[in-house]
C-alpha cells in the first residue's frame, strides 16, 4: 500500500508541472498580445496594463515567467484579482462554499446513482430498468445550465419550493437545489455505470459460487455484487470531479452563489482574464489532488491494486 501511495505521489509531480506549464503556455506564449486578449473588448487603462505586465512578468522570457509563477504559487501568492484583492484571500472565502456544494452534489449522485443503478442492474429488462435507462440518457443529454434554468424556473420561481438564488453565506438549505442541478449529469452516468457493472457481476462465477455456498440473496447482493461494482464507480468519481468543477462554474453562476465557480463565472462575464486563469489553475490543482484521493480509495476497494508493486 505504501508503495502504491509513494508511486502515485511521484507520478503527480510531472503532471503538476506539466499541467500548470500547459495552462501558462496556452495563455501567455501563444501569438498575439496576451494582455489585450485577456480583457476582450473591455480594454483597461494603460496603467492597469502596465501592472498586469509586471504581475505576469511579461517582459521576461516565457520560461522565466513560468518559473516565477510557480515560485509564487508555492509561496501561496496566486496573484490579484481585477479589483486588487489577492486571489488567495478571495479563494479562502469562496472555497468553503464550493466545497460544501460539491460534497452535497457528490453525496446525491453517489447515493442515488448507485441505488438506482443497483436496482436497475438487478432487474435488467424490467420496467424500472428501462425507465431508469431512458431517464439517465435524457439527463445526460440536457446540459447542466439548461437543467439549472428549468429547475430554477419551476421549483424556484413557479412553485416557490426553493430559494431562487443563494444568499452570500450559502446555508445548507439554500444549497440543496444547486447541488441537485450540479449532480444530475453525473447521477445519470453513475446509474449507467453501476447498472452495467452490476449486471456483469451478476453473471460472474464468484457470485454463483457465493450463492452455492448457501448465502442468502441479500448478502450475495450487498457483499459480492454491490461491493465489486463499486470499484469502477469510484474510478469514475475521480474523473467526475472535473465535470463537477465545470458544473460548479455554471451552477454557481445561475444561482448566484459566491463560491469559486461563481467567481470564475463573473470573471468570464466581465472579461477579467487574469482572474479566470488564476482560479482555473487552482481548480486544476484541486482536481489533481482529489484524483489522488480517489486513487487511494480505489486501492482500498481493490486488493489487487493495493498489493501490486
Amino acid at each position: 500500500m505504501l508503495w502504491y501511495i509513494g508511486k502515485r505521489l511521484l507520478q503527480l509531480i510531472p503532471v503538476f508541472f506539466g499541467a500548470t506549464f500547459l495552462i501558462y503556455f496556452m495563455v501567455f506564449a501563444l501569438p498575439g498580445d496576451p494582455v489585450a486578449a485577456l480583457y476582450g473588448d473591455k480594454q483597461p487603462s494603460p496603467q492597469v496594463i502596465a501592472e498586469i505586465r509586471a504581475q505576469f512578468n511579461l517582459d521576461k522570457p516565457f520560461i522565466v515567467q513560468y518559473l516565477i509563477y510557480i515560485g509564487h504559487l508555492f509561496q501561496g501568492n496566486l496573484g490579484t484579482t481585477f479589483s486588487g484583492i489577492p486571489v488567495i484571500d478571495q479563494l479562502k472565502q469562496a472555497f468553503p462554499i464550493t466545497f460544501r456544494l460539491s460534497m452535497l452534489a457528490l453525496l446525491f449522485e453517489a447515493v442515488a446513482g448507485i441505488l438506482v443503478g443497483l436496482i436497475s442492474g438487478l432487474r435488467k429488462g424490467k420496467i424500472f430498468d428501462n425507465s431508469a435507462l431512458v431517464v439517465s440518457l435524457l439527463l445526460i443529454s440536457v446540459p447542466t445550465f439548461v437543467v439549472g434554468f428549468l429547475l430554477q424556473f419551476f421549483l424556484g420561481i413557479k412553485w416557490g419550493l426553493f430559494a431562487v438564488t443563494v444568499s452570500p453565506e450559502a446555508p445548507w438549505g439554500d444549497l440543496v437545489l444547486p447541488a441537485i442541478v450540479l449532480a444530475t449529469v453525473s447521477f445519470a452516468y453513475i446509474v449507467r455505470l453501476t447498472r452495467a457493472s452490476v449486471s456483469e457481476n451478476m453473471s460472474a462465477d464468484f457470485v454463483r459460487t457465493a450463492t452455492a455456498k448457501g448465502l442468502p440473496r441479500r448478502r450475495v447482493i450487498s457483499v459480492h455484487i454491490l461491493r465489486n461494482s463499486l470499484v469502477p464507480v469510484v474510478t469514475y468519481l475521480g474523473v467526475d470531479i472535473g465535470s463537477l468543477m465545470v458544473g460548479a462554474i455554471v451552477t454557481e453562476g445561475i444561482f448566484n452563489i459566491q463560491g469559486v465557480g461563481g467567481t470564475v463565472y463573473k470573471a468570464i462575464q466581465l472579461q477579467q482574464g487574469p482572474t479566470v486563469v488564476s482560479f482555473v489553475a487552482v481548480m486544476v490543482i484541486i482536481f489533481m489532488l482529489a484524483n489522488l484521493l480517489v486513487d487511494l480509495l480505489y486501492a482500498l476497494l481493490d486488493p489487487r491494486i493495493r498489493y501490486a508493486k
Binding site: Q11, P14, V15, F16, G18, A19, L22, I23, M26, V27, L30, G32, P34, A36, A37, L38, G40, K124, G125, L137, L138, I140, S141, V142, P143, T144, F145, V146, F149, L150, Q152, F153, I157, S199, E200, S203, G242, S243, M245, V246, I249, V250, G253, I254, V264, Y265, I268, Q269, Q271, G273, V276, V277, V280, A281, M283, V284, F287, M288, N291
Partner: protein, 318 residues
C-alpha cells in the same frame, strides 16, 4: 425405455438409450446451410432490429440535413430582428414566437444547428484521428515511446476538458467553430488515446498476431491489417458518444460567453440571451435547449446501440 443390445451381459442398472431417440451425428460437421456472417454483418443485424437505432438514426440524419440546408426549413432570417416583436408569442409563419430582442425563435433554432454540429463533428474527428494514431503507436510499439506519450497524455488528462477550454477561450480573440473544436480536442484526445492504447495492447497479445508474425508479415502491416481493425470498436463507441458531449461542451462555452461569438447563431448563445427574461418568457430559452438536448440524445442513443452491436458479450446479456 428398452435397452438396445445384448442385455444378457449387462448388469441390471446398465441403461442404454434407444439409438433412434439419440441419433449419432458426425463429429464436428460443418453446417453448410448457413450464410456467412462477418462480425460487421453481425453488428449490423443486431443494430437494425433495434427501434432505438432507427429513432436515433432518423434524428441524426434530420439534424445533419438541417445543418446543411437550413433554408429548406424556414424562410425567416435568423439575423433580422424587430424590437416590436420582443417576446411576442407564436403566430403564422413564426411557430415558436420571438426572443426578447425580437428574433424569430424557430429560425434561430434551425440556423443554430450548423454551429453546434460543426463543432461536435470537427472535435470528434480530431480527437479520434489523434487518439487512434497516438494510442495505436504507443500501445503497439511500447517502450520509451509509450512512456513518453502516456506521460504527456496524463498531463492533458489532468485538465478537465471544459475547464481547459474556458482558460484558453477566455484568452483568445479569434473565436469560431474551428478554434472551439481545436481547443476542445486539445484537452480531450487523451481519453481516446488511452482507450485505443489498451485495446491495441490486448489485440497485439493475440495468437493471430503471433501467427502473422511467424508468416513473415511486417510489423507495421500487422498493426494496420490485424491490430487496428480488431482494436477500433471501443473507440467507435466512445467517439459516437463524444459527438454529443462536445456539442454540450460547445453550448456551455457559448452560454458562458466564451464559445462562439455573438454574431454566430448558436443554441448555447441563444440560451444565454434568453435567460434574462426567464421569469417572464421562458419559451425562447426552452426551444434551443430542447433542440440541443434532442441532438445530443440522438448521438448518445446511437452510441448505446453501437456499443451493444460491437460487443458480443453485451449482445448476449441483453
Amino acid at each position: 425405455m428398452p435397452s438396445s443390445t445384448t442385455p444378457g451381459q449387462l448388469s441390471p442398472d446398465h441403461y442404454v438409450a434407444d439409438l433412434e431417440e439419440t441419433p449419432l451425428k458426425a463429429v464436428d460437421a460443418v453446417d453448410e446451410s448457413e450464410k456467412p456472417r462477418s462480425s460487421a454483418r453481425d453488428a449490423w443485424d443486431s443494430m437494425r432490429t433495434r427501434p432505438l437505432f432507427w429513432i436515433s438514426g432518423v434524428l441524426i440524419v434530420l439534424v445533419i440535413v438541417i445543418a446543411l440546408f437550413p433554408g429548406l426549413f424556414t424562410h425567416v432570417s435568423p439575423q433580422t430582428n424587430s424590437l416590436s416583436n420582443s417576446n411576442a408569442g407564436a403566430r403564422s409563419g413564426h411557430p415558436l414566437g420571438f426572443t426578447f430582442q425580437g428574433y424569430d425563435v424557430f429560425s434561430r433554432v434551425i440556423y443554430g444547428t450548423r454551429a453546434s454540429l460543426l463543432v461536435g463533428i470537427l472535435a470528434t474527428v480530431l480527437v479520434t484521428v489523434v487518439g487512434v494514431v497516438i494510442g495505436s503507436l504507443a500501445g503497439y510499439y511500447g517502450g520509451w515511446l509509450d512512456a513518453v506519450v502516456s506521460r504527456i497524455g496524463d498531463i492533458f488528462f489532468s485538465i478537465p476538458t471544459v475547464l481547459g477550454a474556458i482558460v484558453v477561450m477566455s484568452t483568445i480573440t479569434d473565436r469560431n467553430p474551428l478554434t472551439v473544436a481545436l481547443i476542445l480536442a486539445l484537452f480531450a484526445w487523451p481519453q481516446i488515446a488511452r482507450i485505443m492504447r489498451g485495446s491495441v495492447i490486448s489485440a497485439t497479445a493475440t495468437d493471430y498476431v503471433m501467427a502473422s508474425t511467424a508468416l513473415g508479415v511486417s510489423r507495421f502491416r500487422i498493426l494496420l491489417r490485424h491490430v487496428v481493425p480488431n482494436a477500433i470498436a471501443p473507440v467507435i463507441v466512445v467517439a459516437t458518444v463524444s459527438l454529443g458531449t462536445f456539442i454540450v461542451a460547445e453550448s456551455t462555452l457559448s452560454f458562458l460567453g466564451i464559445g462562439l461569438p455573438g454574431t454566430t447563431v448558436s443554441w448555447g448563445g441563444d440560451i444565454d440571451n434568453a435567460r434574462t427574461t426567464l421569469r417572464t418568457a421562458p419559451l425562447p430559452l426552452f426551444w434551443p435547449a430542447a433542440a440541443l438536448s434532442i441532438t445530443v440524445l440522438s448521438f448518445l442513443m446511437m452510441g448505446d446501440v453501437v456499443r451493444d452491436a460491437l460487443d458480443p458479450k453485451a449482445r448476449a446479456r441483453r
